[in-house]
Subunit: 218 residues, 2 copies
């Protein structure tokens, strides 16, 4: 992940390593400090730190409607679990989603667990925090579709899906908030093929299935 950080637009402030050979990047050299295993384990959050640790600035990123208008973007409404958030960021990167817009009630994408779960994708996907009601208003005003995954939505497999727009993923426990749902009309359901009704889908898995469904039509 440090390699990916150094290849990204993030501003890296310092790199500490126990093995100078580990980072063959020119731009790492001026930032590099060689330290001992004991020093690394003292400054790392990880139980079993790898050979390298980097310090970087969290970018200041604001929502810009113009930057996303022609793309498919994800919005996350109250994804509390940082591991789930990181996995969603990783999934978005796979499916070429460039921007994720998080509600203020969503976990911190730069939380250590979210960073780990993103497997470096955090450095390539633009993650912004914004008022989702205002974001949805921007889309609606410009006649660009906004989708939300809900349990009473239309079967996603047979629904018309646009080539650009916003897809809102809700929390596992409460789904997409009523306030947001009242602003949109394109509700999508990933159908369950289970015999009973007790099943549910992990938020990151749901995001993956939805992204796959949008991309496979492209």
């Amino acid at each position: 992940m440090v390699k990916e950080l150094l290849q990204s637009d993030y501003k890296t402030l310092a790199v500490y390593t126990t093995d100078e050979q580990v980072l063959p990047f020119e731009n790492a050299q001026p930032l590099l400090t060689v330290i001992t295993d004991i020093q690394l384990s003292k400054i790392s959050n990880l139980e079993t730190p790898n050979k390298v640790l980097a310090v970087a600035e969290i970018p200041e990123q604001n929502f810009s409607f113009d930057a996303v208008a022609s793309k498919i973007s994800l919005a996350l409404d109250t994804i509390n679990d940082p591991g789930n958030l990181g996995t969603i960021i990783r999934t978005a990167a796979w499916f070429g989603i460039e921007t994720i817009i998080c509600s203020a009630t969503t976990a911190d994408a730069w939380n250590a667990k979210a960073v780990q779960a993103s497997m470096g994708a955090l450095f390539r996907v633009k993650v912004v925090y914004a008022d989702l009601e205002k974001v949805v208003a921007d889309y609606t005003k410009n006649d660009i579709p906004v989708y939300a995954t809900t349990l009473d939505g239309d079967n996603i497999y047979t629904s018309e899906l646009a080539a650009n727009g916003l897809i809102i993923i809700g929390s596992e426990s409460h789904g997409v908030s009523k306030e947001l749902l009242s602003l949109i009309d394109k509700k999508l359901l990933i159908p369950s093929f289970a015999a009973g009704n007790a099943e549910s889908l992990n938020a990151a898995v749901a995001a993956g299935v939805v992204c796959s469904e949008f991309r496979r039509r492209g």
Copy 2:
């Protein structure tokens, strides 16, 4: 999850609760012991235990080819992370997959983290541990297709997918083992839409996308 356990085929041995009102099931009554919050926190693995804890027998389940021959089943080759394993079990339940066959090198499905991540689906999906090479041989002998997700596979969106068969999901770090891959000819790829090549997919998300793709054709 205790409710789902009591409604399942699992043999529940005891149920401990701090609130007798919490389990309105007739079959729970003979098993029920009311305890204090302090007692519950002492016997629970969870940091913040809920009001109820159950003890159940892990079922002895063996692989039976006849039981799966006409169905879509999942095989897991070295899924190490119990959280990922639990999420895959949950995902399988959503998509109506009845049986998951795990390599001996896959995490324990009854590990506390796997049970939690499965959200009760563990009690409804049959999870068996078996020698995957022998299992694949059973499928091949009976001319039933075996699929594996690989990075050099055919685009899953445009591949022919059977209504029954086995889908092998490999580990995130090493993929499906060479030995297994040498036994099968149907390799599938979930295409990446990323600009670069550094992306990867979480194993549970990949399982979700693959299950969705098989089911949407049905």
